[in-house]
Amino acid sequence: MSFQDWLFSFHLLFAATLVGGLVMSWIVIVALFSTNAVAETLGFVRVARIANVAILLGLPGTIALGIWLAILRPEFHPWDGWIIAAIVLWAIATAAVLRSFVEYRKPAAKARELAAAGRLGASDVLATLNRTRTGLIFRAVGSVAIVLIVIDMIYKPGA
């Protein structure tokens, strides 16, 4: 395998980590939607950490190696329309996903606060925070942007 083959392979491994992390985060989000118990919420927060790490590794890894490859490979250029489109979509996805992290930190903080007070049962406040519409919308926007990047990368319009 050449150096470029390794770069390409790691570029796609980061991409798989990113999309896999998003899939995992959606499973946790759907599970959180029907949860109002403190102990369960804390459990899902623990699981969500794996997804968050995968997303936080995947986002910069994919773009950094992608741009590097676009510079190295003679058939592509960083100023190609489909690559610029991917960079713009990546920026939108990153902003939206990071904003959704802020929203999903709120139920985690509330669950820890209730647990510290010895209340491990159901909580209406926690149920509302677990069903955050803002967090859901931002995560959906981020996920749609990532799906569009995948489509853009496969079809490469204009290449």
């Binding site: 796609l12 491994l13 798989a16 959606w26 946790v28 459990g43 058939e75």
Partner: protein, 254 residues
């Protein structure tokens, strides 16, 4: 995700394959994470199992069927025996098929465990399912590496940079998307030097009679010296899908 420009008609199955594979990978992570971090909480254990059943299983079916679709589109059954099913492809199919079998075992064991959870049992069996999902997740990482990096493929060392000698027959080959144009369709038996120029926008190579040039970048060229016996020899580009799209033909050796 930069990837090679593919022949028309292969993009959609590739998209489905990638979507299926990432769904499987993400749900394996979700399942392993839930089963490992549940700390006995039944609902989180159930989520761990149902991630496998309702997310990973449909993802696996999508990935496997679209993988087969790509295999047929790229006409792997028609390529010469030496080139058929290279290592990276065998790794991909191996992880998908043997991993699929292991996955079904994990689902079965997990299903029994989930039923036993009602009676306060089954956590030991769920550990087996968790172990299987971790092994599968690692397998998928290896498969992604193999399918994208294509180790030992496309950089074959059999190419020789050589100028035609007086006794050798010179054949110039123009490669582009997705066809070869040869300066002749017939050569005498004996030493032949192919000078292959890539006039296309993506990398190609030229394979004939068990010998191949390395991958040739756009605008670059390579030479290949081979000794040919009389007969009708197939030539092709071995980049996946390129031969199926038209980069193949036959050369008559007199």
């Amino acid at each position: 995700m930069l990837a090679a420009i593919r022949p028309a008609g292969q993009d959609f199955p590739v998209l489905l394959h990638i979507v299926g594979a990432t769904i499987v990978f993400g749900s394996l992570l979700a399942s392993a994470g839930s089963l490992a971090l549940a700390r006995g909480q039944v609902r989180i254990l159930r989520i761990g199992y149902f991630s496998l059943l309702f997310v990973a299983l449909p993802g696996w079916i999508l990935m496997r069927l679209s993988g087969e679709w790509i295999y047929r589109k790229q006409q792997w059954d028609d390529v010469p025996e030496q080139l058929r099913d290279p290592t990276w492809l065998r790794i991909g199919f191996g992880v998908a098929d043997w991993g699929g079998l292991l996955f079904l075992v994990g689902l079965l064991v997990g299903g029994i465990a989930i039923r036993r959870l009602r009676h306060g049992e089954g956590s030991g069996l769920l550990k087996v399912t968790m172990g299987i999902t971790i092994v599968l997740a690692i397998g998928y990482v290896v498969a992604v590496w193999a399918m994208t990096g294509k180790p030992n493929y496309g950089t074959t060392a059999s190419a020789q940079a050589a100028a035609p000698t007086a006794s050798a027959t010179a054949v110039s080959v123009s490669a582009s998307e997705f066809k070869f144009v040869l300066s002749t369709t017939s050569v005498p038996a004996g030493e032949t030097v192919f000078t292959v120029v890539n006039r296309g926008k993506v990398a190609h190579n030229f394979w004939i009679d068990g010998n191949a040039t390395p991958l040739i970048a756009p605008g670059k060229s390579a030479t290949l010296r081979v000794t040919l016996d009389a007969g009708r020899l197939m030539y092709m580009c071995t980049v996946p899908g390129h031969a199926a799209a038209g980069m193949k033909g036959s050369l008559t050796v007199r």
